[in-house]
Structures are given as structure tokens and as C-alpha cells.
Symmetry: C2
Subunit: 150 residues, 2 copies
């Protein structure tokens, strides 16, 4: 989704996030893609427009935006963290081959909850569902290399 600079500024102010050139660029990059980039992906992306950008600033900004609820962190395995500019309730479909992450929108999944017995006194705030498998290209690649899935 494409965002105007003034939309970004308004969102930042609504969430009490100070507006800076760096933050706007990082947030814009994240909202405009559906690819769930890593901190380093964003660093390389944003550095093209702002060569002085520090990797540190990317991490710091991602922390600020996450705490403000403007972005979400997505974790696949214990690989590097990946980020999602879409904070509406949704889940993920993850390719074990190439690591791509697709969004899954499903009201039934959003409504899942534990019974009281299962919750064991927890105050459950949220849940997350991940589907793991192989995307079309990785299935094809696998077939070309070896007929057996490891």
C-alpha cells in the first residue's frame, strides 16, 4: 500500500512517535511491501534514498514503531527477525524452502481461543497461527533436483 508523507506523519503523531526523515522512510518501505523484510533488508532498501542511514537507526526505529503498535515483528524459526507493516489481525503462511511469508486472512483463525482449563489462569492477549510448507516454485525446484522431500 502506497502512503503519502502526510499520512505517515499523521499516523506517527496519532501514536506519539516523533516524525523524522529516517523513520518515515523505514515505515514507508515496510508498509509498501508485502514481503515481510528483515531489518537488514530495510536497511539496504532505505540506504538507497538516504546513504547516511545507519543500520543502528533501523533497529532503533523498528523498536520504536513496534512499541507504538505501528508495525509487527514476525519470527520464523530463530532466523533474523522480520517485520510486517500490516498490524491488522492476520496469520502467516511460510515457505520452508525460500523463506517467503504470505498473509493469511481468516476470521475463524482470528477467533480461536483456549478453554478455561487449557488457559491455566493465563491472561491470554493474542495468538498466532503459522502454516509451514513449500511454495509452488520451491516444490518445482525440489522436483527437478531430487524426487524425495527431505
Amino acid at each position: 500500500m502506497k502512503l503519502d508523507p502526510q499520512d505517515i506523519e499523521a499516523r506517527f503523531r496519532r501514536h506519539a512517535v516523533r516524525v523524522t526523515r529516517q523513520r518515515a522512510a523505514i515505515y514507508a518501505a515496510l508498509v509498501e511491501t508485502t514481503s515481510h523484510p528483515s531489518a537488514d533488508d530495510l536497511y539496504r532498501l532505505v540506504k538507497r534514498q538516504q546513504p547516511m542511514m545507519s543500520r543502528n537507526t533501523v533497529y532503533y526505529t523498528l523498536g520504536v514503531l513496534r512499541n507504538a503498535g505501528l508495525i509487527r515483528e514476525v519470527n520464523v524459526g530463530h532466523d533474523m527477525a522480520r517485520y510486517d507493516g500490516n498490524v491488522s489481525l492476520h496469520h502467516h503462511l511460510i515457505c520452508l524452502g525460500c523463506g517467503q511469508i504470505l498473509d493469511v486472512l481468516d476470521e475463524d483463525l482470528n477467533r480461536l481461543q483456549l478453554s478455561n482449563g487449557q488457559a491455566r489462569g493465563f491472561d491470554v492477549l493474542r495468538h498466532r497461527v503459522e502454516f509451514h510448507g513449500y511454495c509452488v516454485s520451491c516444490q518445482q525446484a525440489e522436483r527437478n533436483v531430487s524426487p524425495r522431500r527431505k
Copy 2:
């Protein structure tokens, strides 16, 4: 669950995993706890019986056991990896305060699947559901320190 040495040996052989003292100790420790320990937790635990144990061997062994399907890796955020000796299909309830992980056994959760449209050609092999919240002690601790949840 308590396991005899011969049970462990039989499982290892069934999964074509070479039997060594170190592996047996690491696997036994993992199956006997429900606390989903990290590699380093296991290292410290097992080192008490086998002082020569190397942290490296723990990592290597966990890799071998995971590839053999004898254990599972559980990931919470991008914290260090944690391991689960229970490979039967189940899900997790995670405390955002203290990091403890409880098992959730629920046939309905086990049966979740994506519609063809949602799956977008993926060959979906498995899914995982995580519930995040605060356990009873962390809720109490929070109340004592500050009335506001962050």
C-alpha cells in the same frame, strides 16, 4: 516422562541415530522435563553428570535429534531456540513475562487447515498455534509493581 536407558537406545536405533553417552543424557533430560529448555539450559543440566560435556556437543546433538524427528525446536520471538522432547502434535501457551511455555493439547487446533484459495499452491506440511499472555505469577507480580500493563 522417565525413560530407561534401553528405551532411549531403542528409540535412537529406530531413528538410525548412533547411541552415545552424551546423546542419551541430552535426550533423557529433554524428555524428562516439560519446561522446554534452551540449548544452554540443557548444557548446564547435563554437565552436572558429565563434566566434560561441551556446549558444542549439545548443539550438534540437538541438530541430530531434530533431524531424526526425535525432538522439536520451539521458537519464541527471536530469543534463543528452545527444545521439546514431546514430538506428538500439540501447540503452546507462552508467558510474555517469564518466558515459560506450556503445552496445549487440542484436537480442534490440530485439525486446522487452509482452504485451497488461502493455500495459494503451497504444499502445507504442518501448522503451529501459539497463545501469548501472562501467567498467574506474572499477573500478580505486575499488579504489585504497577497497576498498568505495558
